[in-house]
């Protein structure tokens, strides 16, 4: 019982702090808008004096409260039985603590607001309107009592639900049943045939490809732009995937190669600083080759360094490129902080190729080419050498792999992909400038690779969709996107270091899947 109380207190404090933090960054209000979009009840009539946004916020807070309760009612470590009473008490304690903390916050901000203290001068998101919404339009005391009751109730309910539903006996039975059915389904000869047949895969890929190619025709300008961005991030992600995922070299200055591709395209085709105005099709390969060469040049001295030093050196290199491109010293050469405007788009047989949908097809083609190349590389001798090197450099050298050459190759190929992405990016935007090449771009690409699944093509595509596509869909979350990136990186490392879609080899190496290590044991028993 004492243990459960401690668990409940712990959960209450954690969730209390999280809820307070969410309020302070203005997320409680945003959650109201977000749910209003979801339920499309933004313009509904007020209900007992509560606007729809307030009701939505209450729903969101109640969900947080439920989670707190269920977290507080969890079993303590090594506990085998799961009686009702401690679970309920844990949930109730968590809810109570949660409610007291949030209630105190409501009391505090409400009182400060009544006395006209300009809180939002220091805490940017705590606007008077946000406070009013948080207190549901009432006085500070009313608001505090409301939050206390809300979180206590939902905490208790969370404990009840999680003991009764999530850990109840019928749930355990249902799970076993479902698993049986699924196994039975998989054993059916027809299903086995479809699954084992390589033709199935081609059919699925073909259908997907056709669907993907139809999308730009239906999508509007904005969506085509977004799809283009996602695909460019797929390009970048696949390039970095070779460096980080396959060869195991963490590159935090990947944006430098992206910038070199973009600036090459810009300076060769734009009229402004260089008066060259070459064709897109000449500038594109030059950009790719230049990026690859820079990769080689940077890689040659740097690749002797061990993992985290390499990360910092590449970060420094990326920052140097950005600082140079913003400085006055380079203004006459590359436009300086103002960037390079009116970059040419591609033409085919004299016909300009610049509308949104057309360009998306071009980027699609590039992405498919890169996916093909990566796939072939990964399963080649080179790819296997990279993976061996990532796992153990000394052993791979003993197996006859020239590690320095292989590392350079990985670096150069990764850089070439980034150069291609950068050239396409600059040409599509018809503008490029130093703001396009901040450290955050490198981090975004690293996040795409890691969240998706290191060393894995579908993983990278999924990562780009999740990290670059989802925020566009959820526009309200724009402000929180980068912060969530950071949190996601940490959470992925803690819970799933292999990514959303782990590559099969990687899965065995990281060993997140317990079944993999246990398989041989079962075999030996039989």
């Amino acid at each position: 019982m004492k243990k459960q109380l401690r668990l409940g207190l712990n959960a209450g404090f954690t969730f209390g702090i999280v809820t307070i933090f969410l309020f302070l960054i203005g997320f409680t209000g945003t959650s109201g808008d977000l749910l209003a979009d979801l339920f499309s009840n933004k313009n509904a009539a007020p209900f007992f004096g509560l606007t729809p946004q307030m009701i939505n916020m209450i729903i969101f807070l109640a969900l947080v409260g439920l989670w707190a309760g269920s977290y507080g009612s969890r079993k303590s470590k090594g506990q085998t039985d799961d009686p009702w009473a401690p679970a309920l008490i844990g949930g109730l304690t968590a809810g109570l603590v949660h409610g007291v903390l949030v209630g105190l916050l409501a009391l505090l901000v409400g009182t400060l607001n009544l006395n006209n203290v300009p809180i939002n001068m220091y805490l940017a998101a705590v606007l008077p309107a946000a406070i009013k919404m948080f207190l549901l339009g009432g006085s500070p005391v009313q608001g505090a009592i409301f939050h206390l009751i809300l979180f206590t109730l939902t905490g208790f309910l969370g404990g009840l639900l999680s003991r009764g539903v999530a850990r109840g006996s019928w749930r355990v039975r249902a799970e076993a049943n479902w698993k049986n059915n699924w196994d039975g389904f998989n054993q059916k000869p027809f299903i086995k045939q479809v699954r084992g047949n390589p033709a199935t895969r081609y059919v699925v890929y073909g259908v997907l490809l056709v669907l993907v190619f139809l999308v730009p025709l239906v999508a509007g300008q904005y969506w085509n732009y977004t799809i283009g961005t996602v695909c460019i991030y797929v390009l970048l992600g696949l390039g970095l995937n070779i460096v980080v995922g396959l060869a195991g070299l963490l590159d935090l200055g990947y944006v430098a190669f992206f910038a070199i591709g973009a600036y090459t395209m810009a300076l060769l085709t734009a009229p402004a600083p260089q008066h060259l105005m070459w064709s897109f099709w000449i500038a594109l390969p030059i950009g790719v080759v230049l990026a690859a060469l820079t990769g080689l040049l940077l890689g040659a001295p740097v690749l002797r360094l061990r993992g985290d030093y390499l990360a910092i050196v590449t970060l420094g290199f990326g920052e140097i490129i950005r600082l140079l491109s913003t400085s006055d010293a380079m203004t006459s050469f590359s436009g300086g902080p103002k960037g390079v405007p009116s970059i040419a788009g591609p033409t085919i047989f004299g016909k300009p190729f610049n509308s949104g949908a057309d360009f998306v097809y071009l980027i699609f083609l590039a992405a498919i080419l890169i996916i093909f190349v990566t796939n072939r590389l990964q399963n080649s001798r080179v790819g296997r050498a990279w993976e061996a090197m990532r796992e153990d450099e000394t052993v791979s050298r003993a197996m006859g792999i020239n590690t320095l050459t292989q590392k350079l190759l990985a670096f150069a190929i990764g850089a070439a992909f980034a150069g291609l992405g950068g050239a396409l990016f600059a040409s599509r935007n018809q503008f490029t400038g130093p703001e396009d090449f901040t450290f955050m771009v490198s981090v975004n690409v690293v996040a795409v690779v890691i969240v998706g699944g290191m060393g894995n093509i579908p993983g990278v595509i999924a990562g780009a969709l999740v990290l670059k596509g989802l925020p566009e869909v959820l526009r309200e979350l724009q402000d929180y996107r980068v912060m969530v990136f950071g949190a996601l990186l940490v959470v992925m490392m803690l819970w799933r270091p292999a990514g959303i879609i782990p590559s099969s080899r990687r899965k065995m190496e990281v060993g997140t899947d317990a079944g993999v290590t246990e398989t041989p044991k079962e075999g030996s028993e039989k």
């Binding site: 220091y122 998101a125 985290d308 600082l323 949190a487 490392m493």
Partner: protein, 366 residues
Amino acid sequence: MPSAKSPARRVSTYKIVQAILGILFAGYLLWRLYVVLIGNPEYGPDTWARFIISGIVLGSVYALIAIGYTLVYGILRMINFAHGDIMMLGAFGGYFVFEAFKAIPVPTLADPKMTFLDANPILSVVAAFIVGASVAALGGYFLEKIAYRPLRGAPRLVPLISAIGASIFLENAAQLLFGTQRRDYSNPAILTRGNGWNLAIGGTTVILPYTGVLTVAVSVLLMLGLYLLVMRTRLGRSMRAVAENKQVAALMGIDVDGVISRTFIISGALAGAGGVMWGIHLGIVYYYVGFLPGIKAFTAAVLGGIGSVPGAMLGGLFLGLVESLGPGILGMSYQLADVIAFGILVLVLIFRPTGIIGEVLTEEKV
């Protein structure tokens, strides 16, 4: 990089190229020094004095932050990428103390608009340092507990990525909490930025700012304190033991996790004090304020040989001086001061990852 050393000492082409490049660079530097100081002097001695003063002040802040990197690296062999952001938390802590004290009116006969901040400058500064350091120490403690401790024993890249994630999270959480605008640090009236002792150098007066003197004095005090802590106390001894070998330290009855926690608290507190100094001396605080000093302090730690505390102090001072003197000596514009700092980082890591000043570490450590 574990590599077997060849028994006979052969001179590789890499070493030769390195030596030639080094000689060329040293020659260029000497030539520039000659041009700038004797041949065609662009600045008078007063300007150089100003550069040196600002370099020493910056350097002492870098040194404090660099110690945090070095302590953590020495024990966990990982780069605490979020260390700069811990410094940012400390800077905000001090900022809020000053703002709160400024809001308390203490009217006197002479000056009815007197605030608590101006009336008690010493108390305010001490409170700012204590609060800033405690906030940052708490930040460091929770950072380690949440983002690093569960990853102990994971492959090297995993905690580094987690650290990068934590850094991004902290920066953007601060942006959402405190807004994007740059805030002015409101110092007590005595410590107004730009005030100081006047020194007569080369016919003109050079101001030795009070804030700068305060910064250097506090950082020297803190470094002395740290030195005593590491060398003379039981905790310092266990820290050194854990840095040497975790398993053996645990066998000797040392609570390894506790020592690591405390290391993060100490390095966080130092970074927080550095953040408050940064605010008092340079006067601006915002969510991204920790990024560049963080990277530069890491450079300083590497310069001094990462893992060595005196090395980090010297490296910080050296980097501060290079940053303020470098553009003048090399004849570059001041926009490129950061390029010089990053350039040094890249060059040192490529050519001498064991650091210029510090001892040569074993292969295992580097």
